[in-house]
Point group: C2
Chain length 138, copies 2
């Protein structure tokens, strides 16, 4: 937890109460909150934190590579604190919950040279979609 804050401070981050609570919210479970969810959880601890500050802080964390932005559904982006190990996502088409998964092999290897159209490809993200056990029986 203060691992994250430690790293950030080393990179010249100014450590404010607002940034601390945002980092703490993200650093809890392996959840994937939207910006608004982060904001409301942060506001539980620091009631006057502004939405704009949460957005700013999240963008900075993304830029610094500490957090990943995930947009699975064209609705609100979600923020994934597990940026250290590469992983992919499994999304429930009904309720929208997300789980981290670790497929075998490298998806990049599956794309033949002839299909790369001269792009300098830097990464491949895989999203598995289906119905989670909770939603299956409804």
């Amino acid at each position: 937890m203060s691992d994250l804050l430690e790293r950030l401070r080393e990179r010249g981050w100014r450590l404010t109460a607002q940034r601390r609570v945002v980092a703490e919210v993200l650093d809890g479970d392996h959840v994937h909150y939207t910006a608004d969810e982060v904001h409301s959880r942060a506001a539980d601890r620091l009631p006057e934190i502004a939405r704009a500050t949460v957005y700013n802080t999240l963008s900075e964390l993304v830029t610094l590579g500490e957090v990943l932005e995930v947009s699975t559904d064209g609705r609100a982006k979600r923020y994934d604190p597990n940026a250290r190990h590469t992983h992919q996502h499994l999304v429930c088409s009904r309720c929208g919950t997300i789980r981290d998964v670790h497929p075998t092999g490298d998806p990049l290897a599956a794309l033949p040279e002839a299909e790369r159209y001269g792009f300098a490809i830097v990464d491949a993200t895989v999203t598995y979609r289906g119905t989670c056990p909770n939603c299956t029986g409804s």
Copy 2:
């Protein structure tokens, strides 16, 4: 082109001028327009078409499986008329253009049973990201 309209009519679609132009816009090149782009192109032919109608029609086409919704960047969704053959997308991180690509193998096979968490998985989408030749030199 009227292929599409044909299929739709067989499924009980009421064929209106608005739906026709939307289908025609999508049925052109292998592009991936946003809803607003579809709207403005449709409006070239049928000036008074409402934005809401375009949104409605697009959702119906998606429901009918004739068109795919693609959300690559958390901004506007794009609509992919190439729903008949499965394919994946290659996206330029700078300019946002999208190309259809066909990786080898089945990404679903790469996800071990132990990583499925009881989900009934129905599909896997892969998004390759990089810089396109046009954007590389800037």
